[in-house]
Symmetry: C2
Subunit: 289 residues, 2 copies
């Protein structure tokens, strides 16, 4: 019934209009036992705007629907949504409000891809393309562990490393500028890591009809390897590129940390390996199926 | 935090982009005891696309987010959403899916206003403008009564009049063509009747800084006067027009039933009357506040 990419791409005069919508449900995507409603609001916004990053797009406007029990602290929720909107340069221009048993936030974001390079789909990777990620992985999953062990207040007051993990979980950032830079530098396929590297790279590989052979996956300091492979919501971007030197140079020019090579795309769609060992297709289980 | 019109209006090259989002929650906006999930899906779609009608816009694309318990019959829900999308000429191009305790459907619709006439806001009415509605009111509220008394199967099998009331409740239509015609014919303000005539006309009057004096409100056959005044979800449009003859002629040219005069806008914003008697500000209580 709908297009299976991060965002829908609609041809328009003067460029492509990108459209994406994302639901965040309390207790499913955000544990209100360890974070505030402002954090939930921030995370809901980032989950949506990150889909625009994954296309190499520039976000334009957002719409926010909020459903929840009448006792919900809407001011706190909107504060988090508004802060995320400001941080990502994407104003909220409309919305809706309803009662419901549980807090559910829907965020819709429109975007554009400027210049001649078209939006980057999941489906453009070819065998031989190199795979790169925009940063180390596992911080969000590790941050959630810290939160569940220590609680939000104590975790934030902990050491810098713990605080960074917690921040990665409760206040993630969409890699918008990195996405635009990758698109302009010739990325052939891209996806944001919301469900976990193996799961999301699996989506990219499936859409492109390729397999993948990973060699090194960068793990955030303080996170475990399984959190880097299977933990979701880091919102780093993973991309396929024919010419990694060009992407590395473009990132250096833009002042970002260098994208990290993790492996290559293969011509056998059934091949999904890490250092030669088959990977199970597992991900962060917050989706329906 | 956001613009208080039916849809946000965003200036673009070659016309205005309209954006609106709407939440439909089972048990709040749709009683699953008397209708199917397909009906809920249809109604969710219409609630959103009707906001485009209220601006005089032409719908372009829709995004649909669905949250619900794992046992939810998604095929049935999507069947209703898809039928409504087809009936309103507005394809679904993306979406999201999540688990939740309760069925919540978010529908986002984009639209455009073609030609030189700008989108019709709520805020453009002036004292002396005539008020017109696109049809008789109260059918949806009366249809819900029939459903609760008789159940969906028996109500549909009942007489034509009952079946029409039930259809108005479970399968309402957005007045898209009527909205475009009204915009082109010089409507100064417009809103769709989702919360009830008195409540929605109150929103228009408040945004425009006018009052209103109603004389005749057309009541659907089989509905009560209070259902016509306070019942929601008829999705007829109510508009303010300086020149009703022009609008009536435009509707006749387009082949629609004539819009029905119901009163005038007044210069005292505190005045809200029906045949000289003050109207309480009441509406369909499915919104939060």
């Amino acid at each position: 019934m709908w297009i299976g990419d991060d965002a829908a791409v609609l041809g328009e005069q003067g460029g492509s209009l990108l459209l994406t919508t994302d639901l965040t449900v309390a207790g499913v995507h955000a544990d209100l036992g360890v974070m505030g409603l402002d954090d939930l609001g921030w995370r809901a916004f980032v989950a949506a705007v990150s889909d625009i990053a994954a296309m190499g797009g520039v976000p334009c406007h957002a719409l926010v629907g909020v459903a929840g029990p009448p006792s919900t602290d809407l001011d706190l929720l909107y504060e988090g949504i508004g802060s995320a909107a400001e941080a990502h340069g994407c104003p909220v221009v409309g919305g809706d409000l309803s009662t419901a048993w549980q807090v559910v936030v829907s965020v819709t974001v429109t975007g554009r891809s400027d210049g001649p390079a078209p939006p980057v789909l999941r489906s453009g990777a070819s065998p031989g393309d190199f795979l790169l990620v925009t940063g180390a992985l596992g911080a969000s999953a590790a941050g959630l562990c810290v939160l569940r062990e220590r609680g939000l207040g104590r975790a934030r007051a902990g050491g810098d490393a713990e605080a960074a993990l917690v921040a990665a979980h409760v206040r993630p950032r969409a890699r918008l500028k990195e996405g635009v830079t990758a698109r302009r530098a010739g990325a052939t396929a891209m996806i944001d890591i919301s469900d976990g590297l193996v799961a999301d790279l699996g989506h990219l590989a499936e859409a492109s009809g390729v397999g993948f052979a990973l060699e090194d996956v960068p793990v955030t300091v303080g996170a475990r390897a399984d959190e880097a492979l299977g933990g979701g919501e880091d919102y780093e971007l993973v991309m396929a590129v024919p010419d990694p030197d060009r992407v590395v140079a473009a990132f250096a020019d833009a002042g970002f940390g260098a994208p990290i090579p993790i492996g290559v795309c293969t011509d056998d769609p059934a091949l999904r390996t890490l250092r030669g060992v088959s990977l199970p297709t597992v991900g962060f289980e917050h989706r329906w199926e």
